[in-house]
Structure formats: C-alpha cells, structure tokens
C-alpha cells in the first residue's frame, strides 16, 4: 500500500462562545468542540473516528470538508493548506473530496429527481460536458452503487426510494466525480440493521475499485472495526487513542477505549465489572477541565489526572494513547 499522506490535520481547534450571565454582567465562556487534535490519513486507507455524540467527531469532519471554519490549526490536503483558501478555490478542491451524510432522508432534496441530484456535482465542476456525457456519468455512478437497472431510478424522487437506496444515491453523488477522498459521517446509523451491511460492503468495494481514501465517522465500535484500517477514539474534543484497528480492539490502552471495547465485546462482562471500567458521572462540557477530559468518569484517576492534560504518546508503533496511567493499567490487567 502506498504509505504517503493524503490528508494531514494539525493542531486543529474549534471553540464556541457560550454567553451567560445577565445583561449587565455578561460572561463569555469558550467551549471546546475540538481541542487541538492531530492525525493523518494515508492514501488508500480508511481512518475511523469514533466517539459519543458531542465528542467533536462531526465537527472535525465538517472542518475538513470546509463546511465549518476552524478556530485554529491546519488542514493539509495533497500538500495544500485548506484553511488559507478562498471560497472559489475551496470549491475547486471539493471535486477531490466529497462527503456522505448521516441522514439519508434529509440529504437528498425532496423536490429533485435522482437525475438532477446526481447532475449537481457535474454541473458544479464539469460544466463543459454535453448532456449525453453527463447522463452517461450519472448512469455509471448509479450502476457503481448497485442499483440496477439504472434507468429505472433516474426519474424517481427521493421519497420513492427506501432508506438504504437513498443512502446509495448519496454515495453515488459523492463518487460521481471520482474523488480521491471521502468523509463519511455515520452513513449507516439511521438505517435498519438489515440494510446496513450492504452499505458498508459497498463502501469497502468502492474503495478497492476506485482506490478511495476515507475518513469514516461512527459511534459504533464494531462497525468501525469492520470498516477501518486505523481508528482514532475521540472524547470531549480530544483524540484519546489512535492506532491500527487490531491493536485498539485487542489492546485498548485508554480507560475510555477499554470501557467501550468491554461494552461492545461482551456486555455481560461490562455489567459485572462496570465499577472497575467506568464511573457514573455527568459530563459538563462547559466546565473547563484543567486535567484529563475523562477524569470525571475514570475509575483509575490519580492526582496528576486532575491537574495536567495528558499528551498523546506512542505505546507501540503507531498506536498512541493520551493517559497518565496507561502503563500502570497495562501492568494491572496483564
């Protein structure tokens, strides 16, 4: 596999201003949606980003896709820093990077036919083509996502399709320009279990055929393990652990990942050991924690966890974790 980097995210930050207090005593607090994250996506690989809702995974994808402005940091795609681009330049680069959204019922304009929906990207980037050429591209894209015969679908409206079919159309729209990078934001979370697998397999298949590079966002660890080469685990706006899928699943090093893996692998084990794995505790994202973001729910915390933010450190060739106690934990469990 080509190991060169396609996308590099460095020191990316996104804060929101939360206003509180009365009219006369206005207080502004900064809330971190994404707090200083770094990662790379290599050509041809699928990087999974996993975390609970509100952990910043979607914000990250939206910043990468330039749908949201970052507060700080750099996003380099094919050597170009996207953060410095003008609107028109961004639109040009979008030909190479596309996104698949979560909600298949919302992502297709209900007033447009499938043909028009799929024409939209072509009209934005390849205006020069004749109608026949555009039409041919649409048919090819529909066939690529395994809706056959394609001619049956192009004159339908979104509401005449099932959820799974809509998501396939959304995928067709993303691949029609033959991009090199795709960000998929929980593409199966709103679908029924029975059609989920089809979408996952389709994406894997397309990656093989088109040599796609992907960022796959999900809250479901088992889906991530099925899809991804590497996984980054996010918690409270930070990447707490990143590494090859196998290592993350077999040797989770961060207490949060440990708990997640325990839940998904064996719920009964989790139920029996939950005091050891995770504490009850409300997460208040408005409170600025001085220490580790997970400290409120971590059963192992030490004094340093309250005062100092742990750095992401390498534990095993490409497997990094940000936890003060991970070595100690390793000894305890083994």
């Amino acid at each position: 596999m080509d190991k060169s980097t396609l996308l590099k995210v460095s020191n990316l930050k996104k804060t929101f201003i939360k206003k509180s207090g009365t009219f006369l005593k206005r207080r502004k607090t900064e809330v971190y949606a994404v707090n200083n994250i770094n990662f790379e996506v290599n050509k041809g690989e699928i990087l999974g980003i996993i975390g609970e809702s509100g952990c910043g995974k979607t914000s990250t994808a939206r910043m990468v896709m330039r749908l949201m402005k970052e507060t700080k940091g750099e996003i380099t795609f094919e050597g170009v820093n996207l953060c410095n681009l003008k609107e028109s330049e961004t639109n040009k680069i979008r030909k190479k990077m596309q996104m698949i959204f979560q909600d298949p019922y919302d992502t297709l304009n209900p007033g447009m036919k499938i043909l028009d929906i799929l024409m939209e990207p072509i009209n934005a980037h390849e205006k020069g083509l004749t109608y026949e050429e555009k039409y041919q591209k649409v048919i090819e894209a529909i066939e690529a996502i395994e809706l056959r015969p394609a001619q049956d679908f192009i004159h339908r409206f979104p509401h005449q399709l099932s959820g799974g079919q809509r998501q396939r159309i959304a995928i067709a729209r993303a691949i029609i320009l033959k991009p090199s990078f795709i960000a998929a934001d929980e593409p199966t979370s709103m679908l029924d279990v029975s059609v989920r697998a089809g979408i996952l397999n389709l994406l894997l298949d397309l990656r093989k055929k088109m040599g796609l590079t992907m960022m796959f966002i999900t809250h479901d660890l088992s889906t991530a393990s099925y899809m991804c080469d590497r996984i980054a685990v996010m918690y409270q706006g930070k990447i707490v652990e990143i590494g090859p899928t196998k290592k993350i699943i077999q040797h989770p090093s961060h207490p949060y990942t440990k708990a997640l893996v325990a839940v998904v692998k064996d719920l009964n084990h989790f139920i029996k050991n939950r005091e050891k794995l995770i504490l009850d505790g409300e997460v208040d994202s408005t409170k600025e924690e001085k220490g580790c973001p997970f400290v409120a729910r971590c059963p192992h915390k030490e004094a340093v966890c309250h005062t100092q933010v742990p750095e992401l450190e390498d534990v095993d060739r490409g497997h990094s974790v940000s936890c003060h106690c991970h070595i100690e934990l390793l000894e305890k469990t083994s």
Partner: protein, 323 residues
C-alpha cells in the same frame, strides 16, 4: 412455571387513507416470573405497537382487533377502564421510548414519581415523598434532587428517573420500550446494567424492546424476533444463537459486525420492508427471503412450536428441507 404475561393471537390494525395497515398480526408469546424477554425488530416492525397494545394505549385510528393479553390470568383487552387504572403501574408499567419527552417539563421529577404512587396507593404525601427519594437513590440519583425539573438533568439521568418512575408501585411486569435508544454507548450500557440488576433484585418480569441484537442477546433469557408485524421466531437466547430457524433471524444475526469475531463477513438482506397496507395473505418475509417458494407467496405460515419452547413461523419447517 409461573406465567406472568401471556399474549395470544394479538392483532392490531391501523386505518389509513389507503386501507387497513395490519401493523401487528397474530402475535403470541408469554413471559414467566423473573424472566427477561427481548423483543427485537427493525424500525416499523410493530414492536412498539405490541407494547402499546399490551398497555391498552392504542388510539384511533389504531385498534386491537383480536387476541388476548392475559396478565396473571386477567384479560387486559377486555378489562374496563376502571380495572385498567388499577392494574396500570401496580401490575404493569413502562419505561418509555425517550425519557427526554416522557417527563412533563413543567413538573418536578419528584411530583411526577409521587403522582404515580399517590394515584395507586393509599399513602400519605409524606410517605410518598419518602418512597420517591428511596426510588431515586435506587437508580443512582441523589434523593434530594426530587425538586429538580426534567430540563436540569442529562439524558442518562432522565432515563434513570423514568426507571425509578416505572418501579414506583412495585409492578410485576415492566416493559422497556427502546428506552436506551439515543443515549451514548457507555450510558446506554449503564442504563441496561441498571435495569438488569433491578430485575434480579426485585424478581421482575421485563420485556425489553430493542433493535440492538447484541445487547438483547447479552442480557435476555428469551428472544422474540419481529418482522413486519409478525413474530417470526421465539426461543431461548441460547437456542436462537446456536440454531436460528427462520431465514429472517438467520439473516439478522449475520447482518451486523461482531467485535469478538473480526473475520465475520456481514451480509445484508436484499430488498426492503413491504408496505403493510392491504398486504396479501402470505408469508410477510417472502419478498426478501432467499428460500421462498410458491407456498410462501400464497399462504400464511403458522406460528408453532418446533422444539421445546422454540417457536417459528416458516414453511421450510414442514417441508423438512431445512438445514
């Protein structure tokens, strides 16, 4: 065995502009004391309608058209409103789909839990409040927070309040209707763990309605799988995992990735759920079934016991050509 709930041939239909939607048809299962049953199915398969039918909460344009729901021998479908009021919460209670919306925003949570106690038991307000605090402690919330309003709690906490409320009058049977959907994975697991431990502690019978197969298989004693308004298979968890008989159950088991088995290839079920309005008399899964033959398209398979406590509705069983 001590049967708490027995549902027999329950059918619930909805009137729509285009005809009758047979949302739930001929559903039968039963539940013993202290048992946890998982009712599994995809969205729109009718599992919530089953729950509402049991609780007699179906309203126009829906109607329970036939069947019996025996709760400790008493038929809830035939019960009068008065009888129902006395049965609800004392015998049977529900942890609703989304606790965010199931708590009235203008009353304190204490008020809402106390309301159910005062309604069904002849106790003083003081005593009711004392019990409310105990209940809150039971689900891991500081009892003194009874004065708080729902919007002052996080999602997981509201879910705990809803559980406390469901247990307020020591019911025999609790129906948990997708009560953890929408929560984060860890919070979800904690809530499920709480339900499981309370079930053991109080010897409750629980129906756990969910679309999350791994979660249900992990904690339920028995599982009933629903597809398009029918229960297609009902068996003990072990039997189902080892020896699923219905093609839909088999497909469902193969549909989601398994962290414990990374080599597993997931397979989707082709096609989509049929429209239940004016659905012809046939097996409802025949449009997507890889084994479907003529009979499946013309007749409704009977839901029957094929082995001790293992029920399914599939013509493959009688044909004897089943793997």
């Amino acid at each position: 065995m001590n049967t708490v709930l027995s549902v027999e041939n329950l059918s619930t239909y909805f009137k729509t502009d285009k005809g009758i939607a047979k949302a739930v048809e001929n559903v039968s299962f039963s539940l013993n004391k202290g048992e946890m049953l998982g009712l599994i199915g995809e969205s729109g398969c009718g599992k919530t309608t089953v729950a509402q039918s049991i609780l007699r909460l179906i309203e126009y344009p829906g109607k329970v058209v036939s069947g019996r729901v025996l709760l400790n021998g008493r038929d809830l479908i035939k019960a009068s409103e008065k009888e129902l009021s006395s049965l609800r919460w004392k015998e049977i209670s529900v942890i609703p789909q989304s606790a965010m919306n199931a708590l009235n925003p203008i009353f304190t949570i204490g008020d809402q839990i106390m309301e159910s106690i005062l309604l069904h038991e002849n106790v003083s307000k003081r005593e009711a409040l004392q019990r409310t605090k105990t209940l809150l402690e039971l689900v891991g919330i500081d009892g003194e927070r009874w004065r708080s309003y729902p919007h002052e709690f996080s999602g997981g906490m509201k879910q705990r309040v809803a559980i406390a409320m469901a247990l307020a009058c020591n019911p025999k049977l609790v129906i948990s209707d997708e009560s953890t959907t929408g929560l984060d994975v860890l919070t979800q697991a904690q809530v499920i763990a709480l339900i499981k431990s309370l079930q053991k502690k109080m010897d409750l019978s629980v129906i756990l309605i969910s679309h999350d197969l791994p979660m249900v298989t992990a904690i339920c004693d028995k599982i009933a799988i629903m597809y398009a308004g029918n229960i297609v298979e009902w068996a003990s968890t072990g039997d189902l995992l080892k020896n699923a008989r219905h093609p839909y159950s088999q497909a469902l088991l193969n549909a989601s990735p398994d962290l414990g088995n990374p080599e597993k290839e997931v397979v989707s079920i082709p096609g989509s759920v049929p429209n239940l309005v004016n659905f012809p008399n046939s097996c409802r899964f025949h449009t997507r079934c890889p084994h479907a033959f003529d009979k499946c398209r013309q007749e409704i398979p009977e839901f029957k016991e094929i082995k001790n406590g293992h029920y399914t509705a599939c013509f493959l069983e009688e044909e004897g050509n089943h793997g």
